[in-house]
Symmetry: C2
Subunit: 74 residues, 2 copies
Amino acid sequence: MAELKYEITEKIATLSTNAKGWSLELNKVSWNEREPKFDLRTWDADHTKMGKGITFNEAEARELFTGLGKFLEQ
Amino acid sequence: MAELKYEITEKIATLSTNAKGWSLELNKVSWNEREPKFDLRTWDADHTKMGKGITFNEAEARELFTGLGKFLEQ
Protein backbone atom coordinates (compact mmCIF):
# COMPACT_ATOMS: atom_id res chain seq x y z
CA MET A 1 0.00 0.00 0.00
CA ALA A 2 1.44 3.42 -0.99
CA GLU A 3 2.68 5.36 2.04
CA LEU A 4 0.34 8.22 2.99
CA LYS A 5 2.33 11.45 3.40
CA TYR A 6 0.79 14.14 5.58
CA GLU A 7 1.96 17.31 7.28
CA ILE A 8 -0.01 19.40 9.77
CA THR A 9 0.88 22.85 8.43
CA GLU A 10 -1.28 24.84 10.87
CA LYS A 11 -2.98 23.91 14.16
CA ILE A 12 -6.25 25.81 14.37
CA ALA A 13 -8.28 24.36 17.28
CA THR A 14 -8.50 21.37 19.60
CA LEU A 15 -12.23 20.68 20.07
CA SER A 16 -11.83 18.01 22.76
CA THR A 17 -9.46 15.41 24.18
CA ASN A 18 -10.62 12.04 25.51
CA ALA A 19 -9.33 9.93 28.40
CA LYS A 20 -7.04 7.97 26.03
CA GLY A 21 -5.35 11.22 24.93
CA TRP A 22 -6.97 11.31 21.48
CA SER A 23 -8.05 14.79 20.35
CA LEU A 24 -10.65 16.00 17.88
CA GLU A 25 -8.79 18.76 16.04
CA LEU A 26 -9.25 21.32 13.28
CA ASN A 27 -5.96 21.78 11.44
CA LYS A 28 -4.68 22.60 8.02
CA VAL A 29 -3.08 19.47 6.60
CA SER A 30 -1.10 18.87 3.42
CA TRP A 31 -1.86 15.39 2.11
CA ASN A 32 0.73 13.79 -0.20
CA GLU A 33 2.48 17.13 -0.57
CA ARG A 34 -0.61 18.76 -2.04
CA GLU A 35 -1.97 22.23 -1.12
CA PRO A 36 -2.96 22.24 2.61
CA LYS A 37 -6.72 21.91 3.27
CA PHE A 38 -8.86 22.35 6.37
CA ASP A 39 -8.99 19.01 8.15
CA LEU A 40 -11.29 17.91 10.98
CA ARG A 41 -10.35 14.53 12.55
CA THR A 42 -9.12 12.76 15.63
CA TRP A 43 -5.42 12.30 16.39
CA ASP A 44 -3.51 10.44 19.04
CA ALA A 45 -1.33 12.43 21.44
CA ASP A 46 1.82 12.50 19.28
CA HIS A 47 -0.04 12.77 15.96
CA THR A 48 1.30 9.52 14.56
CA LYS A 49 -2.15 7.84 14.46
CA MET A 50 -5.32 9.39 13.06
CA GLY A 51 -9.01 8.58 12.91
CA LYS A 52 -11.60 9.10 10.22
CA GLY A 53 -12.20 12.73 9.32
CA ILE A 54 -13.00 15.16 6.56
CA THR A 55 -11.13 17.75 4.54
CA PHE A 56 -12.62 20.93 3.12
CA ASN A 57 -11.51 24.09 1.36
CA GLU A 58 -11.78 27.73 2.46
CA ALA A 59 -15.12 28.40 0.74
CA GLU A 60 -16.58 25.35 2.49
CA ALA A 61 -15.02 26.48 5.78
CA ARG A 62 -16.80 29.84 5.45
CA GLU A 63 -20.14 28.12 4.73
CA LEU A 64 -19.55 25.86 7.74
CA PHE A 65 -18.83 28.89 9.94
CA THR A 66 -21.96 30.73 8.76
CA GLY A 67 -24.27 27.72 9.08
CA LEU A 68 -22.90 26.68 12.45
CA GLY A 69 -23.18 30.25 13.76
CA LYS A 70 -26.84 30.55 12.79
CA PHE A 71 -27.64 27.18 14.34
CA LEU A 72 -25.83 27.81 17.63
CA GLU A 73 -27.50 31.22 18.02
CA GLN A 74 -31.01 29.70 17.93
CA MET B 1 -22.91 -7.01 8.73
CA ALA B 2 -25.39 -5.28 11.10
CA GLU B 3 -27.55 -2.75 9.27
CA LEU B 4 -26.55 0.85 10.03
CA LYS B 5 -29.60 2.91 11.02
CA TYR B 6 -29.39 6.65 10.54
CA GLU B 7 -31.81 9.58 10.48
CA ILE B 8 -30.99 13.15 9.48
CA THR B 9 -32.95 14.94 12.21
CA GLU B 10 -31.93 18.48 11.24
CA LYS B 11 -30.34 19.93 8.07
CA ILE B 12 -28.03 22.76 9.11
CA ALA B 13 -25.90 23.73 6.08
CA THR B 14 -24.81 22.54 2.63
CA LEU B 15 -21.18 23.57 2.27
CA SER B 16 -20.81 22.59 -1.39
CA THR B 17 -22.20 20.33 -4.12
CA ASN B 18 -20.01 18.69 -6.77
CA ALA B 19 -20.69 17.90 -10.42
CA LYS B 20 -21.87 14.37 -9.50
CA GLY B 21 -24.52 15.82 -7.15
CA TRP B 22 -22.74 14.84 -3.95
CA SER B 23 -22.89 17.48 -1.19
CA LEU B 24 -20.70 18.23 1.79
CA GLU B 25 -23.25 18.86 4.54
CA LEU B 26 -23.48 19.76 8.21
CA ASN B 27 -26.52 18.04 9.73
CA LYS B 28 -27.68 16.59 12.99
CA VAL B 29 -27.85 12.83 12.58
CA SER B 30 -29.15 10.09 14.88
CA TRP B 31 -27.04 6.96 14.42
CA ASN B 32 -28.63 3.63 15.42
CA GLU B 33 -31.45 5.47 17.18
CA ARG B 34 -29.05 7.21 19.53
CA GLU B 35 -29.14 10.93 20.52
CA PRO B 36 -28.60 13.08 17.37
CA LYS B 37 -25.07 14.50 17.00
CA PHE B 38 -23.56 17.13 14.70
CA ASP B 39 -22.37 15.37 11.56
CA LEU B 40 -20.13 16.69 8.80
CA ARG B 41 -19.92 14.40 5.72
CA THR B 42 -20.70 14.01 2.06
CA TRP B 43 -24.03 12.63 0.82
CA ASP B 44 -25.36 11.71 -2.58
CA ALA B 45 -28.35 13.65 -3.92
CA ASP B 46 -31.09 11.50 -2.31
CA HIS B 47 -29.13 10.84 0.91
CA THR B 48 -29.04 7.08 0.45
CA LYS B 49 -25.24 6.94 0.07
CA MET B 50 -22.74 8.68 2.34
CA GLY B 51 -19.00 9.33 2.42
CA LYS B 52 -16.52 9.42 5.28
CA GLY B 53 -17.24 12.10 7.86
CA ILE B 54 -17.10 13.02 11.51
CA THR B 55 -19.59 13.43 14.34
CA PHE B 56 -19.24 15.82 17.24
CA ASN B 57 -21.27 17.09 20.18
CA GLU B 58 -22.46 20.63 20.99
CA ALA B 59 -19.43 21.57 23.12
CA GLU B 60 -17.13 20.50 20.28
CA ALA B 61 -19.32 22.41 17.81
CA ARG B 62 -18.87 25.58 19.85
CA GLU B 63 -15.08 25.10 20.00
CA LEU B 64 -15.10 24.52 16.23
CA PHE B 65 -17.07 27.72 15.68
CA THR B 66 -14.75 29.79 17.90
CA GLY B 67 -11.55 28.38 16.41
CA LEU B 68 -12.75 28.66 12.83
CA GLY B 69 -13.95 32.23 13.42
CA LYS B 70 -10.56 33.35 14.77
CA PHE B 71 -8.74 31.70 11.89
CA LEU B 72 -10.97 33.10 9.15
CA GLU B 73 -10.73 36.62 10.62
CA GLN B 74 -6.92 36.66 10.32
